[in-house]
């Protein structure tokens, strides 16, 4: 048994591929690299690979994670190198650790994610920073969210852990967000922008580009 955790980049060239496409791309890369993934026992064996939080189609990331179990004992470093040699352009492993180094943490316990969000404002009040500050002072931010049974109203205030303006010009704004993510509560950056549009008069964004920079466990520790 040889368990390894890896951090990878999902770059610009592959940002439109779905989570399912990404998983398939990795399975094929393991096969090209001749790295034997272990399979579960039982009637319908499945490969022992798991991914941390899925990323929305169109977003890029420098902090995606996967756990994999291999039949052979191969060092984390070698697995990383062999995969990088065969992965499609745009996907790259940047860190790999053996199980002893990341202990027994589970992707199920991921609770937070950090993003850099670039938006193009169509309309924007002059002192937008002040407006955002005011919005964050409210105890309730109600937005429409796609649930399993259609649209529903949810309060996302407590899911916004950090929100700051990194940079701003007339036709470009860059926001940094730290939001709830994972099984318990999950809020996507575009939902936060909808909230800002709803609560700030004269604020409307046209196009949003999301980049994920980190994923954290409940205790605030980085996934790797």
């Amino acid at each position: 048994m040889n368990k390894v955790r890896m951090q990878f980049i999902k770059g610009d060239k592959v940002k439109y591929i779905s989570h399912l496409d990404l998983m398939r791309a990795f399975h094929r890369a393991f096969r090209r690299a001749q790295l034997p993934i272990s399979y579960s026992q039982g009637f319908n064996p499945h490969p022992l690979v798991s991914f941390a939080l899925p990323l929305a189609v169109g977003a890029t990331s420098e902090a995606e994670y996967m756990d994999v179990e291999l039949d052979e004992k191969i060092s984390a470093r070698e697995i990383m190198d062999r995969l990088n040699a065969v992965l499609p352009d745009g996907i790259k492993i940047v860190k790999a650790r053996e199980q002893s180094e990341y202990k027994n943490t589970s992707f199920n316990d991921i609770a937070l994610a950090e993003y850099i969000v670039k938006a193009e404002p169509r309309r924007m009040p002059d002192n937008i920073a002040k407006f955002i500050e005011d919005v964050l002072k409210q105890s309730e931010l109600i937005v429409e969210k796609q649930g399993k049974k259609g649209m529903k109203q949810v309060n996302i205030r407590d899911d916004i852990h950090e929100l700051s303006i990194e940079n701003i010009t007339d036709n470009n704004m860059v926001l940094k967000m730290k939001l709830s993510a994972g099984n318990v509560s999950n809020v996507r950056p575009d939902l936060v922008l909808s909230a800002l549009e709803k609560y700030i008069d004269g604020f409307e964004v046209e196009f949003v580009q999301v980049h994920r920079t980190a994923q954290y466990f409940k205790d605030g520790n980085n996934v790797m």
Binding site: D21, R31, P36, G90
Partner: protein, 613 residues
């Protein structure tokens, strides 16, 4: 490649992966370093086009040349087309993102007639004049190949030149001529003149058609000096020596055939009289198992694909099937990948094989008796008897299968309602065969699926002179068959007969149809093979506007001495043979397959495969 379509646009369309390229093993070159840019166009959406084996072969083969950069082009789906038209984005190639109009050669593969409207739409999106006669110096040459090119006439006004037959050798010859021509800086017509001298190349603009008063062809003559009277198709004599890539593109999104495809042979020995592929791809030429295993290993290493499948017109007829599957199973078991089998003739060998290849169990078994009565099967020369079928399904039921698909055709020449009912009878006999297997030996829950497609007479078949059933006749037969199937174990599916009608028009059409295609395009027809986009009434309007009667092409019985629009194409199989076969069909006489006995079809002139074994 630098992404040339903006995120704003890609974020507005479904499945943006269709338009981004950059897949593993796709080829990127600096356009400045090559002499020829070739746009390989598939007139359908990405996931359909990427499943096409011919494109995989020719893409890599063309790119093997340092002086050529071949890129892929697909039809944008309607949402993307809207975005492109709204934002003035011309049709682009996937690798570089460059406009197709900047290429030297733009080549379409014609796999089915219902993609013709997309060919025209793509030219329009590219900003390339649709009519060949309107293209001038500086425009790309538009060429086409593939099975539908054997009757090139409906696209005669649109395509500059056609490539007849297998492209592996002839394309290089065309490129060599192009290089020379480009260097000399001569006129457009000069290039066409030169390539018309290459065997297999047809320049439709070099010919003139004269019609009789009844609309049939009076004469078909070259009007350009040296243009050949007959255009002979090209074939690869020895598949083991022919080009095959050791790498294939691995798409990110799921495509229709998402696996390694091993082409085990070309052609077919069977001689079913309805089957165009069985005639035009003759003679049968096999690859050796050694070569195929070597290809399988290489492709698995370079692609990482989880599945290998076998491709041919009738894989059961491969003479070395046992040795091949034995070797492939060794490879797939070692790599924990799957071998997926095509529908094989069911016997004890194939059942044992299917047992080993677990996947088949889930999907069920497919049989293609094609017709319901022995009389009808003799007419079409389908060498299957009821006894064969019942023996096979019984074996399968005993082996634990309980899911059976039966494929038939309706609208075949000489077909009566009795023959149609025979389909239901046969399905019931399959049900009986299931219940004849002792309970403890069979699996619970029987599903028999009966599917009928509607017969469309095709050029270069013994049925090329036959009238096609009308939409009303086909509907009546479908309804009749439906009323005869009452068992809860049998499900019946049928094809849209309006689509078969239109397919029939273009399959045996002449060059008068070019203007109908353009008219239909102007009225918005595209993606006709997709039921949600097929607009039958609009097509009828296009025919009317052009003053063309579509029934002229489908409803008429042609006489043997009529000049057919494709008579100037030589596929090897002679008209004499087709007439003989047509006559035998009417008498219900069978013709043995090529391995049992040569029936002198004429293709032996190519000196390849089964003809010289």
């Amino acid at each position: 490649m630098p992404q040339k379509i903006s995120d704003k646009i890609l974020s507005r369309v479904q499945k943006p992966t269709r338009y981004i390229g950059n897949e593993l093993n796709s080829i990127h070159k600096d356009p400045k370093t090559v002499d020829i840019r070739f746009a390989f166009c598939f007139p359908d959406v990405y996931e359909v086009g990427m499943s096409h084996l011919g494109m995989k072969i020719l893409y890599h083969m063309l790119n093997d040349r340092d002086d050529v950069f071949c890129e892929r082009v697909f039809a944008p789906w309607t949402d993307m087309e809207q975005q492109m038209r709204d934002n003035h984005i011309p049709l682009f190639a996937l690798e570089s993102g460059d406009p197709v109009s900047e290429f030297d050669l733009v080549g379409f593969t014609l796999q089915y007639e219902m993609s013709y409207s997309n060919v025209i739409n793509m030219l329009d999106l590219a900003g390339i004049p649709i009519l060949a006669s309107e293209r001038g110096e500086g425009h790309p040459f538009v060429c086409a190949g593939g099975p539908c090119a054997y009757n090139p006439e409906p696209l005669a006004d649109i395509i500059d030149f056609f490539v007849m037959g297998e492209g592996e050798e002839v394309l290089y010859e065309v490129l060599d001529v192009y290089l020379e021509w480009k260097k000399e800086g001569k006129q457009r017509i000069d290039f066409l003149d030169r390539i018309s001298q290459i065997e297999g190349i047809y320049v439709p603009g070099f010919y003139h058609v004269e019609y009789n008063d009844d609309g049939t062809i009076k004469t078909f003559k070259p009007i350009r000096q040296n243009a050949p009277v007959k255009i002979k198709k090209r074939i690869i004599k020895d598949l083991d020596k022919s080009y095959f890539p050791d790498k294939i593109i691995v798409p990110f999104m799921e495509i229709v055939h998402d696996r390694i495809m091993l082409e085990v042979f070309r052609g077919c020995t069977r001689g079913c009289r309805f089957c165009q592929a069985g005639m035009i791809y003759r003679p049968v030429r096999e690859r050796s198992p050694e070569k195929l295993l070597q290809m399988a290993k290489a492709l698995q290493e370079t692609s990482g694909y989880e599945e290998i499948s076998l491709a041919s017109l009738s894989t059961s007829d491969y003479t070395e099937l046992e040795r091949l599957t034995e070797g492939l199973l060794k490879i797939t078991e070692e790599n924990k990948t799957n071998l997926s089998l095509p529908s094989l003739r069911v016997d004890s060998f194939s059942l044992e094989l299917m047992e080993r290849v677990q996947q088949v169990r889930k999907s069920g078994l497919t049989f293609a008796p094609e017709a319901g009565t022995q009389r009808m099967r003799d007419v079409i020369n389908k060498g299957v008897t009821e006894e064969d079928l019942i023996k096979s399904v019984t074996l399968a039921f005993q082996g634990g299968w309980n899911n059976v698909k039966l494929y038939f055709m309706i609208g075949l020449p000489t077909e009566t309602m009795e023959d149609v009912e025979g389909i239901a009878d046969l399905a019931y006999k399959v049900v009986d065969a299931y219940f004849s297997v002792p309970k403890e030996k069979r699996n619970k829950g029987l599903n028999v699926t009966v599917s009928t497609s509607s017969f469309v007479p095709k050029p270069f078949t013994p049925f090329q002179w036959q009238p096609q059933d009308s939409i009303e006749q086909l509907n009546e037969k479908q309804q009749h068959l439906k009323s005869k199937i009452k068992s809860k174990h049998i499900i019946y599916h049928w094809h849209e007969s309006k689509l078969s009608f239109l397919e029939g028009v273009f399959a045996r059409g002449d060059r008068k149809l070019s203007k109908v295609l353009i008219a239909a395009h102007k009225m918005g027809c595209k993606f006709d093979g997709w039921s949600e986009h097929f607009r039958y009434e609009v097509w009828l309007k296009a025919f009317e506007e052009c003053g063309i009667d579509p029934y002229f092409y489908t409803a008429r019985k042609r006489s043997y001495d009529e000049v057919l629009p494709w008579d100037h194409v030589d596929v090897g199989v002679t008209k004499k043979f087709l007439i003989k076969e047509s006559e035998k069909a009417m008498r219900g006489e069978r013709t043995p397959n090529c391995r049992q006995q040569c029936s002198g079809c004429g293709v032996a002139v190519f000196e390849g495969g089964v003809c010289i074994e």
